[in-house]
Symmetry: C2
Subunit: 119 residues, 2 copies
DNA sequence: AGATTTCCCCTTGCATAACAAGGGAAAGTA
DNA sequence: TACTTTCCCTTGTTATGCAAGGGGAAATCT
């Protein structure tokens, strides 16, 4: 289980988790698997990262949890999006897109600065 | 000077700074202005964020600095990319693109999970 | 039966780093 | 004189991702 050393995760973890729950409630273990698969093995969440984040999101009222049984008949805690969480998902998705576009503008900037002030 | 409340900055600050120096040496104040302009006012670096980052990058050997005079004849510390910094810029740019693509895959995923294992 | 793996939950402590909020100084401008 | 702009920096706070642990129950393998 080699780690990917992606330090970018900060700031995007929450929106990834919220998105993973947009279809149906999932337990923590399933969330990591879904995100891993949907990202083509690029995003590998550590459990020490995931569970505190779930707790955090629940304490903010964005998630709600309930104990149940997994597909394998194991005891598991299922998380679902609250309506507040759905709203937050939309906000954060938009924020990510804006931020990502802004970074791309800077990283793809080709010409020298030539700071010309239109007056 | 309303702040933009973009919490995503974590992890991308370094590559943004490195990129801003790819054309010519700049002093700190000019770096914030360049990034702000190139991102269409989306990325507003706080000075308390910038200067520690510059120090950090210099201590890693990615930047080198030299005192000089700004366009306005003020004393200013100019930073330039070292060759190690140029290499790091390429690595981090590629890492950003990979990470950004991975996040987009997850956030844009449209279909329910339907985890079908090809065996 | 015993051993191993997989599935699932969680906690503690650490390090990093972005930010708020300060302080300072020199040059221009009104 | 007072104010703004340009430039530099530091300290303290807070958030959070991660490494590194621990635990337990069910399935599978030998």
């Amino acid at each position: 289980m080699e780690s990917s050393k992606l330090e970018f995760l900060r700031g995007t973890l929450d929106v990834l988790i919220l998105k993973s729950l947009v279809w149906e409630p999932l337990h923590g273990y399933a969330i990591t698997g879904l995100i891993r698969r949907q990202s083509d093995e690029a995003l590998l969440l550590e459990e020490g990262t995931l569970y505190p984040a779930l707790w955090r999101l629940e304490s903010k009222g964005l998630l709600a949890s309930e104990w149940g049984l997994s597909e394998n008949n194991r005891k598991a805690k299922f998380y679902r999006l609250t309506s507040k969480g759905k709203r937050q998902l939309q906000l954060e998705t938009a924020a990510w897109e804006a931020y990502s576009a802004a970074v791309s503008k800077v990283l793809c900037a080709a010409c020298p600065p030539k700071q010309q002030e239109a007056s």
